[in-house]
Symmetry: C2
Subunit: 335 residues, 2 copies
């Protein structure tokens, strides 16, 4: 392994000179710096990140916390897309990505301990149970953190605009003449709460009275539960003319039930998804849905986290909302 020492011997200068030259300190003459850099290249020098971070207390390493209760986890395009985006943004700024988990071998660690042990400069928290004490410990620690789709008091959060999403969906569906709009919503999380609140609010604003019978719960990303909910809705005396699904993938479950009953989308019943995953736009008719900009969310999260790491004194927690876009597919019929 080539170390600083090898270079210094090769160049006939000291250790410190080499280090400084390579790091672009300005108390090194141009000629020396040039000579050192060339030698480094020639010898194939690579800095040792362990040694470096031991001394500097920085690792250029970002943790990501990506666990979820339903364990659909990375299988969900919203998260895998976000991860890709976090990754490439971080890399462009010189940071690597490490997954934070709770158990490292036999040893059980809290998330905080793990992040600390790995020396993460910061952590992106997404798709977890935010009420978990371990998560809270991490957020309250000295390690810079940023959360996605959840707000804590003291750390920056990036939110997909669920208020806007549901508002746009509700308004659009209403504008197409629908008055009996059913909503199948996910389990009780802050995201679900926002979507529901926004739905109720928007309905109220446009003067649509709500029928509690049209509210059904079905866990996210679970087509079977959505199928069940769809059945219940279709069994109602006063059937909905439109069903909003918790996410695009879950919609497939509903779709099956609808088609089983010989109903046609959108002629007999209209449907709307949420997320705007690839699949939704491949289906025929294309699914009307709200596309969450998971890439933008990931990008901003990484950027803000890195800012916070590199300029801690300028840091002010903020809440950043990333709006998505209503994709008007062909699953909502004008009536």
């Amino acid at each position: 392994m080539i170390t600083l020492k090898d270079i210094s011997e090769y160049c006939g200068v000291s250790n410190s000179t080499v280090s400084k030259a390579l790091n672009g300190q300005k108390d090194i003459s141009k000629e020396t710096a040039q000579k050192v850099r060339e030698a480094a290249r020639k010898l194939g020098y690579l800095p040792n990140s362990a040694a470096r971070s031991l001394k500097t207390n920085k690792t250029l390493n970002l943790g990501v916390l990506f666990v979820d209760k339903t364990s659909s986890g990375l299988r969900h395009e919203y998260f895998s897309g976000m991860l890709e985006s976090i990754k490439s943004t971080a890399e462009a700024k010189g940071y690597d990505i490490t997954f934070i988990s709770r158990n490292l071998g036999e040893r059980k660690m809290s998330f905080y301990e793990h992040a600390k042990y790995r020396g993460c400069d910061g952590v992106v928290i997404a798709s977890v149970d935010f009420t978990n004490p371990d998560v809270i410990e991490l957020v309250n620690s000295e390690i810079p953190t940023i959360t996605i789709d959840y707000v804590y008091n003291k750390c920056t959060s990036v939110l997909s605009d669920n208020l806007d999403g549901m508002k746009q969906i509700a308004e659009y569906v209403y504008s197409q003449g629908h008055r009996r709009i059913a909503i199948i919503h996910g389990e009780n999380t802050s995201v679900t709460q926002k979507r529901l609140a926004s739905f109720r609010n928007t309905c109220k604003k446009i003067g649509l009275e709500l029928d509690e019978a049209l509210f059904k719960e079905a866990r996210y990303h679970d087509p079977k539960l959505s199928a069940l909910a769809t059945k219940e809705l279709l069994d109602l005396d006063k059937k909905p003319t439109c069903i909003l699904y918790p996410d695009d993938f879950s919609f497939i479950g509903g779709k099956n039930v609808i088609e089983e009953r010989g109903l046609k989308i959108p002629d007999d019943i209209s449907v709307v998804g949420y997320d705007g995953v690839l699949l939704s736009q491949i289906l025929r008719p294309q699914l009307t849905t709200y596309k969450q900009d998971s890439e933008e969310i990931g990008k901003i999260a990484a950027q803000k986290l890195i800012e916070q790491i590199e300029e801690p004194t300028l840091y002010i927690p903020e809440i950043i909302t990333v709006t998505g876009k209503l994709l008007r597919g062909g699953t909502v019929e004008k009536i």
Copy 2:
């Protein structure tokens, strides 16, 4: 930050004693070891991984190389499932996962340099362009590597059994009476080559003569291209009775075309996918497909890599094939 020194002062023993006690060396008396461990717990000691790996040259860190040309990358369930599995297997053995990329900040690095810089104890290589010189450099380096779905001479590889997959599909479809079987295959990769070879081979074995007009290429994970290929196939004078798709997701593209033409699956035409992603089993009728065991693949890859890292002297490169399972959905009609 609590260091060894703090513990040693607290306990009134030396640095080395603390280190040895914490690492379970046996030249420390039970009483001392006990005392030290308690103090460590009480003070909230966490080892500094940078310092540790500086000294030991081990990081307990695994790199994963996950880039692909089509950049569907982690969005593909095959890979996201694999990653999850690699991650949890590695974690159980005390290893973390870091993504390896090529650019760290302004500095362009080769994959090898990156892995070396981060001190990865080993690297899992998947879903990349395996002919890339940078990948080859990494494989040929001193860093333990393991490849997925590609074989190099000197490193262990874990392969999804594409030969078996295509064989099972072909045999099954044949057994259902199909004689004009079209195959839409992915771009020219080693995976595609294997599937094609297996298809041709199986057909030959069962005495089915091949019609080159029934071979179409459409990039993986690209429903539009599959739709195109499907059109061409349906425009043939002698139409296929069954179409094999490169993957489940691409099938959706074909499905649209088929339904546009007023054909019904499986009554008018049979179809088969590949992968066995969640979606495929949600569709109605359920897609007949070959489920690749991406979790098993990830698990074995992580296990073997760790073995290689921890017992380098016992290491012998091997080729491990993970078979999947034919899922008999409802998209292949008996004729």
